[in-house]
Each structure stands twice: as structure tokens, then as C-alpha cells.
Symmetry: C2
Subunit: 140 residues, 2 copies
């Protein structure tokens, strides 16, 4: 489970910086990306009205998969803390990519029941679904 994930890490920092600069108090998990006893969310954000726990992924392909145990951990932590769980997807694109348009930076949020469940019990988002149905982070 423990892995070096520099793109994921970079994406997480980018998202945290964006939220932090737009009125959100944000904390990253200290154990993000590494194995721990407790399953901790990547990001916890609040703005005094709404609270989100997030699992973030940045992929170069057109599909993003989330491990079942990560999603279950997100659900559990969110319920305990009192925050809404969100899977966050970011696909490769350069600034100005027309597929993002006004939604830059291109992070899309999904409620857990909006994710496709694979035969293996993991969760998936496709890029076209993200662009069409996801909540752009700029709309939070």
C-alpha cells in the first residue's frame, strides 16, 4: 500500500493551496500516501458552513480508480468527524485546456454514491463523467 506517488502528492498540495487561498481551512493527513493503522483521509477542509473529507487522485489516463478500503475509510472518518466524504478526481491537462474551461484547476468532486462500482468492489470515475457530472472545486 505504501508507495511513492509524486503526482498524487503534487495534486494534493495543489488542491490544498487552492482551497486555502479561497476561504477554506485545510489540513492534509500526515500519513497521506503511506500505510497506517487508522485509515485517514487525504484532505480535511471546512469553511465554517460545510466540511469535507477528501480522497484525491490525479491520473494521466481517462479513468481513476479508488480502492474500496480508502472509500470505506473516508465514509467512516467523515461520519465520525461530521464531514461529507468526497472522491476528488484530477485528470492530466495543461492550463487553458478547453475541456476544463472555467473550471481550472481541474479538480472534480463526487459523492460516494456517484462513483461506479467495479466487479472487484473498487470505485471508478471516467474523465468524461467527471467533466459532465462532477462538482468543480471552483464551485464549492
Amino acid at each position: 500500500m505504501a508507495q511513492s506517488n509524486s503526482k498524487g502528492d503534487r495534486g494534493e498540495r495543489e488542491l490544498v493551496n487552492y482551497l486555502n487561498g479561497n476561504g477554506w481551512g485545510v489540513l492534509r493527513s500526515p500519513a497521506s500516501g503511506s500505510a497506517t493503522v487508522r485509515e485517514l483521509p487525504d484532505v480535511l477542509a471546512g469553511n465554517g458552513r460545510r466540511f469535507f473529507v477528501m480522497e484525491t487522485k490525479w491520473e494521466s489516463g481517462n479513468k481513476i480508480y479508488y480502492d474500496r478500503d480508502k472509500i470505506l475509510g473516508l465514509k467512516f472518518f467523515g461520519h465520525k468527524f461530521g464531514a461529507e466524504p468526497r472522491a476528488v478526481a484530477r485528470f492530466d491537462a495543461e492550463y487553458g485546456d478547453p475541456s476544463y474551461g472555467e473550471d481550472w484547476p481541474g479538480y472534480y468532486l463526487f459523492g460516494l454514491d456517484e462513483l461506479y462500482i467495479t466487479k472487484e468492489g473498487n470505485f471508478r470515475i471516467k474523465k468524461e463523467a467527471a467533466l459532465e457530472y462532477g462538482t468543480p472545486v471552483v464551485d464549492l
Copy 2:
């Protein structure tokens, strides 16, 4: 500002474990104890009804000092996120120490306006005040 603070670190982990085992969703700051651009709280905890940001200190003496910039950072983050800021004090004591009584583990929470302000603009809690006026973590 960056310092190795093994007692503080141990205390923080003890507090996090206690809260986590008692119905709270808890996240420690990844940068806790080290210098960062953003001033981040040591601990962020929620139980679906209340949310706290905490600056924790564990000292062997009878007085605990909190740096002004830490307290200001706590206030700012708490306001932005939507969590109540608390200074948390833990004084040296062994399990069964009569001064703690039923309040073990001996962590006491203070609202920022309950702290004494020193001439230098820092903040202070004395042990006897903690035991008398603080909110024991077991009462959260």
C-alpha cells in the same frame, strides 16, 4: 521554531488516540512541531456536533507557555475552518496521581480568552488553574 519535541509529540499522539477511541474523528497536522508557511493547528477533531482545533503542550513544570503566533494561528484557522480554538495543557503526572483523579488522561482544554497574557504577549496556563478551571478531555 523547528525543534525536536518528543514529549510534546508523545502527548499529542496520546491525546489523538484518546479522542479517536472516544467517538472523535481526529487529524494531526502533518507539519506539527516544524516551521511552515501556514501556521497549522496541532490537532483537528470533530464528533459530528462540535469541532475543535487544538494547540497541545505537555510540560514537566507547573506552567505552560503558548507562543503568541501559535495562538493567533489557531484563532485564524479555527475561524476559517469553523472550529473552536482550544489550548490544551498536560502536566507531568503518573497514572493514579490524585491531582488528576477521574480526569485521566490529564489533558485540560482552555478557550483562548481563559489564558493569562504575559507582558511579552504570549499565553500561559498554571497547573492549579488547569486542574480547577480547565475542561478535562474526558468531559468533552
